[in-house]
Symmetry: D2
Subunit: 332 residues, 4 copies
């Protein structure tokens, strides 16, 4: 249940009420909200004087629910708005991992040259084996930051765990929380205390309900700038790396108010299928795409099979424009 408080209720009163209801109080400036468990369906009558409106929900998808906000919330990534009144589909691209200055600068330069505004690149890699490349760490973050300065790109990089969350939040423009990290309360709470946009990926074993509830941790922590990213779920099919859940995307568009970003690279896991699947994603009418691109995928230190080379990515980028247009969207 979300209780909108009257504007004359002060923080002390609000906090007292929240405590009584075992609930979370959020002062959003223009809105003062108390969010309780969704099992609570109303308040005792003596509180009514403090209350502007009450929103009741059938699950703990509350702040993210389209029943709470009819329109998709706007999130600013650099100078680009996704969601809100925009009809933008933001294209984020770059390598899986930052590997060297040359590699990331080649990529940044190419992205800039074709009009891309947001550069991805992982520095703390959540690898499944301790014996493979773990990322460049802070050295990678510095390289990403210098690409932002040199090429005026928004940078998107991933927090692996809470031990370096503050550092990543400090350097990055978009806080990426990956599929393996999305249940990490330490990370979710830190992202909730920032105001930077968050790209929250769905875990590959995560239901849509749990996924959006993870977003609620960030939203209720005080950061309204959350984008949901579907990147493929794990199924019995192994010819492809994961199974991109576009039916689930239709659900997210219908029932939540957060922008939706799609990651066809991790879902497909093989470069040959990325262009077709990316075109499919674009035709869904979504708010963004994140694609893995590498100057020379054959030597990439992680995700070599699925990264596109510049030429394939350039051709793909051009092919997306008329599709986006056909569904009333614009690739930015």
């Amino acid at each position: 249940m979300i209780i909108e408080l009257k504007s004359d209720v002060n923080d002390a009163q609000a906090n007292k009420l929240a405590k009584e209801l075992l609930a979370i109080y959020m002062n959003r400036g223009d809105q003062k909200l108390i969010v309780t468990s969704s099992k609570m369906k109303g308040v005792e009558s003596h509180y009514e004087g403090m209350i502007e409106a009450i929103h009741v929900f059938d699950s703990d998808i509350q702040l993210a629910s389209r029943d709470f906000s009819k329109s998709t919330i706007p999130v600013k990534v650099g100078e680009v708005t996704v969601g809100g009144n925009s009809s933008n589909t933001l294209l984020i691209a770059g390598p899986c991992s930052v590997e060297s200055e040359e590699q990331i600068e080649d990529t940044a330069r190419f992205m800039k040259s074709i009009g891309i505004t947001a550069l991805r690149g992982g520095c703390f890699k959540p690898r499944t084996s301790p014996y493979s490349f773990q990322g460049l760490g802070e050295e990678g973050l510095k390289l990403m930051a210098s690409m932002r300065e040199k090429y005026n790109l928004s940078i998107v990089t991933e927090i692996r765990d809470a031990t370096h969350a503050d550092m990543v939040i400090d350097y990055t423009d978009v806080i990426q929380i990956g599929a393996k990290t999305m249940y990490d309360h330490g990370v979710l709470r830190k992202a909730g205390k920032s105001q930077k946009p968050v790209l929250l990926k769905r875990g590959f074993g995560t239901t849509l309900q749990e996924f959006v509830q993870a977003a609620e941790f960030i939203l209720s922590g005080g950061n309204p700038n959350v984008m949901l990213c579907e990147r493929g779920i794990r199924t019995f099919e192994t010819k492809t790396r994961f199974t991109l859940d576009l039916c689930g995307v239709a659900y997210l568009k219908e029932y939540t108010n957060l922008p939706v970003i799609l990651d066809p690279s991790h879902a497909m896991g093989h470069a040959y299928g990325v262009p077709d699947v990316t075109r499919a994603c674009t035709a869904m009418g979504i708010d963004g795409l994140i694609i893995e691109v590498h100057p020379d995928p054959s030597v990439a230190r992680s995700d070599a099979a699925q990264q596109l080379d510049f030429s394939t990515f350039g051709a793909l980028y051009n092919s997306l424009k008329p599709i986006a247009e056909a569904v009333g969207r614009k690739i930015v």
Copy 2:
């Protein structure tokens, strides 16, 4: 292994060789083929005089493999070709079940009026409960056949099991084999003896490997006119009915030579998401779509939640044209 025989080898010789190799002999008119298990990688030297060429495979996807036929095979549905040199995306539409003459005629008339050429409608329904509507049976087939006569539509209807397979094959233009029937050897073998086009759906628990191998039953039985239909797989996600596997579609396009048809209705299971998902499918550059449409979904006797009404379907149909065009395809 597929052995292409020299044209002067006669059927008796070919059958003798097939028997020795525990293999299947197919006289395709222009080609005489022997198909062995893929575990066999060559033949003894004394057979070489009979052999034009040998194709070796790493799995039992053989006749359907793109390594055997570089281009997608053409299949004719009425006057429309899918696959081959065409760039057609065939739109098949109609109700889940034929329920009454009025219902199917309303639908047929509407489809004709907007330019649709292929009408779906189930008569033998593979329901999961014995206590729900099981379809009109032969009465339904007669209604479908009369729609073909009156409106010049190709009709697409489903075989539920081998007990009525001959009857359905006799009436229909496209033999539909559903997700629950695709392992049914009785049905696959009967479809293999026909020359009518077959729409073979992937089971919801079926790997891509098994799915294409089911097509091999039909192909090796003598019927080259097989279309593969992805309609959603069963995963842990239950907000939607199934999970449409577009990564799997990318695999099928890359590795098989059969036309690919997509069924967004069964995957999504809820009308609200069908338009977006259908647009995504179209942008994949596929050979066809099959969509459930009903004059009044709220009273449908099966799949009520997922069928589109005429107005929604008409709008969707129009929105598909520019997307198809953007990927070099034409909706027919």
Copy 3:
């Protein structure tokens, strides 16, 4: 809803009522039942004179529900009863496929020698590839029948599809319906018309709800002798062939009244794990086990990896007895 009719209602009256309710009428001798859709929760008052009792259900699991019959129904396999008042755990064993007279006779003789009473052996194999061994067909059925005569064993063999269902039902003692066939209405209806015990396997992509509903086809067709067989479901894990669902077995024991048989061989898919998993199954307190055993697994024409040799099986059999005893059961 199940309506128990008064004993003086005759078949004509009962059939008339069933027709009015779009329901199924069953004269079980001691009980006259009408089974409607579970959506129906009551009847109009003028029928009340015909009605002894009404059972209302929340899903189409009705005849199989423990709310309808408090105790597990008894099913006789040869001279052995499973379910009912028995505390038997019936051990069915034998090869995946009947391959030759020598192979099946070696097996039958061994089984007899250690006290096994039920012999499995497939004759019509639902293979996923047309290029692998498809079973001996009727020749295999004859071999199985002759093992019954010679060694006084109950024989258990599988129907692949409706085209040979009558033949298999004629030869066999237990009608096995496999994981790929369990949605086959042609087969389910034929099994429903027999009185022979049916071993119905769960499909690997089938929910428990659908599985028990498939049993309802047989039960409502007139055959009360249905045993449910869990044999592993398909999940994302590929180190083992399938994932045996023992939590699901706990559900079946709690909510249905049908005996439960477990198939660890197909679930595990590798001989090394079959003994441990079989012991686990036994400790669940279930009504039967079906295990694949072959005189020489290394040369088996199907499922070679998972079949046990005689020595391993003999040792396993002995190890099961104290476990069964610990849970109040007896291996028979």
Copy 4:
């Protein structure tokens, strides 16, 4: 590849070699090991003088592989050894969450009275919703520690994320890493630096390969005391909370050298099925069980549906003894 170094190689030399091979050096006292990626299959000849033995692997399951250590490694939990030469099945029991002093003390007293030696109880709960009970935090840890003092029980409690990992490690006897935390590098690395036993749970969307690789993070970090815990994976079946993967357990027993603990409570998710499934687990011949027990499950603040009351748990405990004995094990 694991390189066993000769005993006269000193740490400086070993570290130098490890750096050259991009590998991890571990001085285990009795063994000096260098662990490289499993892609590496040998070393250049000039290193040979330093090398005692080389172990090559086909995947990054290396330190945990039964090819590296033939017998299950021993892990001490309080005074109880699991694995090694013991034939113990350790029974860990207690509530999902520590809720109050009275609740945890009632439980501890009961456990002590029936002979249980290890008490579980969560203090930092990885809930999926921010609006439900998040655990008592350090207050809970203090209560657990006081139960250890008063009742001489080993305490088992969970790290939720890296922000409080040091605190939990400090208080607890067994470091529990839950299904949602098992990819958390921050937590895995901290557990690797401790010498306390670790109970590592498999994620519900995690393959066996990834699961054991997560253990490799801890092992290669320097802590050899890792126990693997299977607690159910997420599948399409929703009648039960998860699907316990006993086939996977057979794999872990065959291919890894780590003790295996099973958690039937989370897998089943409903108290009615926990006893049967626990008995099944016991018959697998495993090293431990972890069961949720609460003085009054109906008022539990988390996992209310699946916790057993004292009376049910006591009866279950007694029923396990003869099953364990039947498979050569002893419940401790």
